[in-house]
Symmetry: C2
Subunit: 332 residues, 2 copies
Amino acid sequence: MLNRQFRLAARPSGLPKPSDWKLTEEPVRPPADAEVLVRAKYISLDPAMRGWMNDVKSYVPPVALGEVMRAGGVGEVLESKHPSLKPGDFVHGSFGVQTHATLPGTAVTKLDPSFAPLPVFLGTLGMPGMTAYFGLLDVGQPKEGETVVVSGAAGAVGTVVGQIAKIHGCRVIGIAGGKRKCDYLVDELGFDAALDYKAGDLKAALREHCPKGVDVYFDNVGGPILDIVLTRLARKARIVICGAISQYNNTQPTEGPRNYMSLLVFRARMEGMVVFDYVDRFPQALQALSGWLASGKLKTREEIVHGIDRFPEALLMLFKGENLGKLVLQVD
Amino acid sequence: MLNRQFRLAARPSGLPKPSDWKLTEEPVRPPADAEVLVRAKYISLDPAMRGWMNDVKSYVPPVALGEVMRAGGVGEVLESKHPSLKPGDFVHGSFGVQTHATLPGTAVTKLDPSFAPLPVFLGTLGMPGMTAYFGLLDVGQPKEGETVVVSGAAGAVGTVVGQIAKIHGCRVIGIAGGKRKCDYLVDELGFDAALDYKAGDLKAALREHCPKGVDVYFDNVGGPILDIVLTRLARKARIVICGAISQYNNTQPTEGPRNYMSLLVFRARMEGMVVFDYVDRFPQALQALSGWLASGKLKTREEIVHGIDRFPEALLMLFKGENLGKLVLQVD
């Protein structure tokens, strides 16, 4: 049985090129004691993956050259030498961009495939959902009636952030690129407004839709959009720094937020978060998100790309803003 | 009796020029009902004054063209039509850059000149002291044993921030320009180290002196120093944004902190503060600061420039980094 893998061949400059990847095949490694062999069904595509390809110190080590690209996934246990897992179990974990993964049983988490379609465990019930839940509620601390703005609003994290904020009684404004995404946010997810940053004067649109200023800004994009929102804060605003997708493929040094002194003017704070810090509380978030999903208060959407061989092009869809909801690669 | 005044004649581009000011004389206005006439003794020179000269929305309105320049001061009551003030009382308030001020009795605060020399009421026992106290303790929230870094460390706010942090059992590293200031911080104020940003590799010096990272960074300067400290944060670090003196005389747009994504990597936060928000708690801070002054735990230093006519050049000393401690203009 062969394991088909995408390995990092070169450190990209700007958007990853096909030559930055190497497709390899090697025999599947049978599980050793306490290990399991998993066949990947879906692979998660996340903006953060771009950061892991750079040789810089961050919250996780970079992927080494020649190594299988790091990625989350859901799959099925084929063989198990771990007492609490058996063939046929569905699990999620950090399987990498490959068709098969052999890893310790303690490194995977069992999931119930009858509860939701498997890709949902990579999105709304996976890391993006956890990120949205803890980033918004713990770091952003929105109060009922406050105005919450989220950028990258039509992505895997943004869609969940906005809906959780609505559930908590906030006014929610999404920022996204293009009419299709903006219509989806308002018509399907119940956002109070969605601002198309590609379509015109975002500053004027924010002024119109946030007349009392922005109480919580959940930032997935960085760059000029962060700078514009900084000018429209309410007193004691909270900015959650979750990502900066607009900057990940820079070939020039990142520009910082020129308007950061708005933090002083508005007595505001800007705080970074990494979802792994909340792992002990994932069950609490899962319970809440599952409940909202079941009751129809929370909607989830996944965009599936078929075939592991399309990994390089699928990853680029994130940076070109082509996905609506969670982007997932189906292995078969 | 004539009142000699500095009025804002033009909005400066870059460092204020002599032609940005107009020196005027007009008869002193006698106090109306409930007002007092104050003769200014000392005028406070503060970096924030530069911001008030720009025609931009901020936490206070800009000084209008033709208006007397806004400034804090201490002075002596000459005439009073306010029941709780009498000639000979010493008071502080926002008197402006002028020899005499006529203003409501409720707009001034009586002080006890036997307690400390008058200029101290503009520094360690004035707004800079309040800023240091609330900025460090309320926003920075340092814990015993943590590493606190302060920039503009030899200035009116920085000297107090560092000493309060020492009193609270922190390791304190100051950043200042030049050997004279750095020696003063270590030899006189008991800082654990002082790093001369003009003298070499600040990043390497920070690495050496903050091996476990920076827990609290109190930023008075912005610019490249903020960017360097961002790379050396400890987990859950707090950055207090108090000012950005390095940027106040920019003729180009301010550069934002390029390394702001360190907030995510280190799960850190950056928060702005304005001292006026704490006015209800000034008595608490005054009591603490006075107690430390009396017991010798807190040292204060003022640099006095003589003669109101030297106001334009004295103000520039702040931006050239020439003062050590609180810069004060003596009116006589």
